[in-house]
């Protein structure tokens, strides 16, 4: 990360606050949301901003997440910037609406606090809420700390509203580990954010009686293939736009997140672990201690899951002898979603073993020891030792 260019006020805040403050700075005109642990602080903060006159927007306290996203879709299709946030069961309830937001090319920004999806019911961190949404046409970015949450909400609007993209985006933060954890966060300067993020003025979808438009028509087979292709093109274009926005943000605010992926001590690494979400921070420390012991390990931080950074991963894994992919979710009958996607992305570009690790499901803590075990097995793998395709870490009764 680059040196800070500007020094605005830092405050000790939760990840939920960071997600809300990012929205405050982005000046959405309509917020529609429904509370769910551990996202509740976000909706409470948004309500307070409006109650205190800090934000001039409509807050729709709707009766479900399905309605929250529906209201955002309708308002965005009318032509205003919107905001919502959810988690877990709420996201699952939204599922049907997510396709509409993407299919209508509405650049809605939604933080999702990653929480386990029932059953068994729990409230702690797992990515099995967002991973099943991967085919809806939403961009997805996973955050490592509260600062990244805030910075990504602002960048998310800029990326999503870019005319080359025009797709909705989820900004993902791990339940409790970020949502309820306080740490110092640079809250950014409103004027600078305004200069970075212009108002939303859609040309492709709006509802205005002086210039009528049909949005969301029933469409026969003659039109849907092309529409699907457009969404795929938008997703592809997002790669470039994410790069540009990352650069512009780094330039203006002094923090460079690396774009689709970030890397750590990869220069001469023999094995590497890929992580997403907050485990990344723990893994950075583990990398340092392995390095201190002369072991050549490195770290790849998967930031964007959609679009999936295939090219970047091909580049980043060159020269490695083994790669491990960490997931906090499983696609039953196959493996961790990012492991599956990584193997797919690297197909034909590498012949190194790519192995999957599962840890932290249901909110179980992922410790430095857990991560250390992953690196140890990767080093063994690089030396030709065998290991299963997918390893369950810290699971009672399962061999490490």
């Amino acid at each position: 990360m680059m040196q800070m260019k500007t020094q605005t006020e830092k405050k000790v805040v939760t990840g939920d606050y960071a997600a809300a403050h990012g929205a405050l700075l982005a000046r959405p005109k309509l917020i529609a949301a429904y509370p769910i642990t551990p996202q509740t602080f976000i909706v409470e903060h948004m309500s307070e901003f409006i109650a205190d006159g800090k934000l001039d927007a409509d807050y729709m306290a709707v009766e479900s997440e399905h309605s929250a996203m529906s209201a955002c879709i309708a308002a965005e299709a009318t032509g205003v910037r919107t905001y919502t946030a959810t988690s877990s069961q709420g996201l699952a309830l939204m599922h049907e609406t997510l396709f509409v937001a993407a299919g209508l090319h509405l650049p809605i920004v939604m933080p999702v606090v990653n929480r386990t999806l029932a059953a068994p019911i729990g409230i702690w961190c797992e990515h099995n809420d967002t991973m099943p949404q991967r085919d809806t046409g939403w961009l997805q970015v996973y955050c490592e700390d509260n600062q990244e949450v805030l910075d990504m909400v602002i960048q998310a609007y800029k990326i999503a509203e870019d005319e080359r993209v025009l797709l909705p985006i989820m900004v993902n933060l791990d339940a409790f580990i970020l949502s309820h954890t306080v740490e110092p966060v640079d809250l950014l300067d409103q004027k600078m954010v305004d200069a970075f993020l212009p108002p939303y003025k859609p040309k492709h979808a709006y509802l205005d009686p002086s210039d009528p438009m049909v949005v969301g028509s029933f469409a026969p087979p003659e039109y849907i293939m092309e529409a699907r292709y457009q969404t795929e093109m938008s997703m592809q274009a997002a790669r470039e736009v994410i790069g540009e926005v990352t650069e512009e943000f780094a330039d203006k605010f002094g923090r460079d997140y690396g774009g689709l992926i970030d890397t750590y001590r990869m220069d001469d690494a023999e094995v590497a672990l890929m992580t997403l979400g907050t485990v990344t921070g723990t893994a950075r420390d583990v990398v340092d201690s392995f390095r201190a012991n002369g072991k050549k390990v490195g770290l790849i931080k998967l930031r964007f899951f959609r679009p999936f950074p295939a090219r970047e991963l091909i580049e980043a894994t060159k020269g490695l002898k083994a790669l491990g992919v960490y997931d906090r979710a499983i696609s039953f009958g196959s493996g961790g979603p990012s492991w599956i996607e990584t193997r797919h992305a690297l197909y034909g570009h590498t012949d190194i073993p790519v192995t999957g690790f599962l840890a932290g499901l249901g909110g179980r803590d992922v410790t430095p020891e857990n991560v250390g075990m992953m690196f140890d097995s990767l080093l063994g793998l690089a030396k030709g030792q065998g290991m299963p395709h997918v390893s369950w870490i810290g699971t009672r009764g399962v061999e490490p």
């Binding site: 309509l30 729709m60 399905h66 529906s70 879709i73 299709a77 032509g79 949005v215 969301g216």
Partner: protein, 297 residues
């Protein structure tokens, strides 16, 4: 009060749509749009009306039009309205046209939410008393005894065993500014209610009986007649709940329900006992209506 003759010549729901010949829903849309006029945004859930009025790239509505999903009409209309307000266009009418299934069943939650928040929208339920779009399945708004494809006439059960859900009274319980029922067979009453709905602020709910030749198994030419008989038998009450006051707009002739039922294939199988049950239901419904007039004066 606007008469039929005074309605604008101009249609904002155009010809060429693909509704069945005689479609009561299409009559509702066309007449309502004459009253609402061009400064309107229309929302449609999944329904017959969506399919027959909006097949890409053509659309029957001359005004801005949005479809999102099936069960969220009320909240989508509310989202549009609030966004228009934010854009400085607060004079625009936002109207949702939803079917009985999209309203009384799967859409009831979003409807209740929007009503409770008193969202500034007009919600029109065109009641054809079944899920017509998917092939005539029963809804909670299907009347007692009616054949549908999911209340078939078999040897053990014949037709729907439950009575119709009373959505207007559910809406009254939300104490919104305006709740009314209408029938296409009473033009001036219908126009008056559309105009009131247009003029008022806050949540406005209008439920219009919209006979369906296909689903009711009746002659397409008889749609208006059926809509009249429904009122004259007392099966369909013309009512208004306006700023807390409940009014029955028309005292029916109470002609025997049989006349209405006989004219429709969906009731063909009814036994004399079934018919009596319906006749009794009409009586108790009327007593409740009169009692409501006393309560909400």
């Amino acid at each position: 009060m606007t008469t039929v003759k005074e309605l604008p010549v101009q249609d904002y729901f155009t010809s060429g749509h693909t509704a069945c010949p005689g479609c009561g829903g299409a009559m509702v849309a066309r007449i309502a749009m004459k009253v609402f006029g061009p400064n309107t945004v229309v929302y449609h859930p999944a329904s017959c009306m969506l399919i027959f009025s909006s097949t890409y790239p053509n659309n029957a509505f001359k005004v801005p039009f949005l479809h999102v999903l099936f069960e969220n009409s009320a909240v989508c209309a509310a989202g549009i309205k609030r966004a228009l307000n934010r854009l400085g266009k607060s004079d625009v009418n936002v109207v949702a046209f939803a079917g009985d299934g999209g309203t009384a069943d799967i859409g009831l939650q979003a409807l209740s939410g929007a009503a409770e928040r008193n969202e500034d929208i007009i919600y029109i339920m065109y009641d054809n008393e079944a899920y017509m779009n998917t092939g005539i399945q029963r809804s909670s708004s299907t009347p007692f005894g009616a054949w549908t494809t999911t209340t078939p006439v078999g040897s053990v059960h014949a037709g729907k065993v439950e009575f119709k859900k009373d959505v207007p009274r559910i809406m009254m319980a939300h104490d919104v500014p305006y709740v009314a029922t209408a029938s296409i067979a009473y033009p001036t009453d219908f126009i008056k209610k559309l105009e009131k709905a247009k003029a008022k602020k806050g949540f406005r709910y209008l439920q219009v009986l919209a006979p369906c030749p296909t689903g009711w198994k009746a002659e397409s030419s008889k749609m208006v007649e059926l809509a009249r008989m429904a009122v004259e038998t007392g099966i369909w009450t013309l009512m208004e709940y306006e700023d807390g006051k409940y009014t029955v707009n028309r005292t029916p002739k109470f002609s025997p329900v049989q006349d209405y039922l006989k004219a429709q294939g969906r009731f063909k199988h009814l036994t004399p006992e079934d018919i009596k049950k319906i006749q009794d239901w009409v009586k108790s419904k009327w007593e409740k209506d009169k009692a409501l007039e006393q309560v909400y004066k």
